[in-house]
Symmetry: C2
Subunit: 297 residues, 2 copies
């Protein structure tokens, strides 16, 4: 399922061996290199509906440059692609906005994967300027895939975060458990979800979340699909589980409501209808694919 | 498979709603509360082979206390369990050592899950004293499941890291691809592995790692099992994939060697024999379960 899920497509060739090769990296920062155009941290869309790129000459002289990878474009040597972390971005985090969601609907799977990876990295640099161990400033290293502490007595190395999140549908008597968070649009229901905590397997995290949020005891957890979600750096891990008792006790700090829906109700909502029992999660969310997977099975 | 994998068992009841309830948390810090005994960051084993616990009276007065969860012990109210972050731990990270591996062999799945979660959290507090956004000191919050920046103009909230790692076996013509890292004991081969990067799905990460480390193009990635690995905070996500071409080109900075092994060679090594084609990964590693799963299929 991976290629049909937003942000999960094959993007650039990441060539991680180049990141540690300062000489090679410098040689790639040439006139053919491309710089991802960003509006704040949102994508800039070219007239043909693809991601817009400039050259390194367009970069803010005070920016840090992040090496995204190599792009094949038919030429003998692939082009190197970069994104910039400008002084204006430092410390600030722009949450996703309606303009971004609409831009995302236009981009190809490859462009969406490139943008998602770039957004997570740029955002991480903007919010990780200091060493968590000693408080000293850090500098960009390995083409932007690391930051190093500048304090000679510390020298800690820091790496971009990826936060695993489990997101799960639960089935009982042929019906599906879905919930709604307070921030959802009216009548939207979706899969329950939560961060994996230190010391948990995926399976333990799924069971804990379902019990905490809906009071339902889940069993027989299976993996369905995954999706990088760059707001700011989640790895959504989609699972399906079963329950033997449909009694729901919701955690009101997390959810407005949770309900069991029949196969017919889920199929109606997933057809795009807005007059049914609920409104389905949007196609770019991995929850949409969990529901689609369940209906197809 | 989860309960048979080291660190992946059901540990304490994490009751995350208590973490944000300062009054409730204080009331749980009573004479019945238990404090996990640690030697440095290694577990202390009681004479009966279980984790050793003391009371909060044993805590270093200068320590930060981390709330691990509640333990059912037959009494009317469950006991609260804590671990301490002592001043001696700050900034230092003790890598796993032979004494720890041997202690791990003694602990029950529940104790191992409790210790693993506690170790990851304590280690995170020891190495995350300052705000990565602004460099100011941070303080423990929500029972140790968060640290908050003390700078009133920043107030960033920081959460314990969980770093997803893919670890994978690859099959071609009924043979299995395994590799050896330079740090492995002699003749040990195991599954290839690597951190999931920002912007990657699990499936993309598996394909990238196999291509980078062994030059093999993998397809048809499937999920097998997961394991929290508290050194310091990985979530190992075990996968299986297929390849159509057995040509190997290893990345010599990552691997000493990679080879294809027959089913008979894998079965012989997994029987514990050390006179075969290779020595198998140890039972507490998720790689051991990947090999067992493949043989059983």
């Amino acid at each position: 399922m991976e290629t049909t899920i937003a942000f999960a497509g094959a993007g650039l060739d990441r060539t991680d061996h180049i990141r540690a090769d300062a000489e090679k990296l410098t040689s790639l920062m040439n006139w053919r290199a491309r710089l991802l155009k960003l509006d704040g941290i949102d994508p800039v869309i070219a007239p043909d509906g693809s991601l817009d790129w400039g050259t390194l000459a367009d970069a803010d002289p005070a920016a840090e440059l992040v090496f995204l990878g190599l792009m094949e474009d038919g030429a003998k040597d692939p082009r190197a692609c970069f994104a910039q972390v400008t002084p204006a971005m430092i410390g600030s985090v722009a949450p996703p906005n309606p303009r971004l969601w609409s831009a995302m609907g236009m981009l190809s799977p490859t462009d969406l994967a490139i943008y998602g990876g770039a957004r997570s990295l740029v955002d991480w640099h903007a919010r990780h300027r200091f060493c968590a161990r000693c408080g000293s400033p850090t500098t960009l290293a390995k083409g932007g895939w690391q930051r190093n502490c500048t304090n000679d007595r510390c020298k800690a190395e820091h790496f971009p975060r990826v936060d695993p999140v489990t997101i799960m549908t639960v089935e009982c008597d042929g019906e599906l458990l879905l919930g709604r968070q307070p921030r959802f649009p009216p009548r939207r229901y979706s899969a329950l979800a939560g961060f994996v905590e230190p010391g948990e397997s995926l399976e333990s995290a799924v069971k804990r979340e379902v019990l905490e949020e809906a009071g339902v005891k889940a069993r027989s957890v299976e993996y369905v699909a995954s999706q990088p979600w760059p707001f700011p750096s989640s790895l959504m891990i989609g699972c399906h589980a079963y329950a033997d008792d449909k009694t729901i006790v919701i955690d009101e700090t997390e959810l407005d409501d949770a309900r069991w829906f029949t196969r017919e109700e889920v199929a109606h909502a997933m057809s795009g209808a807005e007059d049914g029992a609920f409104i389905a999660p949007p196609p770019f969310a991995v929850a949409h694919h969990l529901l689609k997977w369940w209906l197809a099975r």
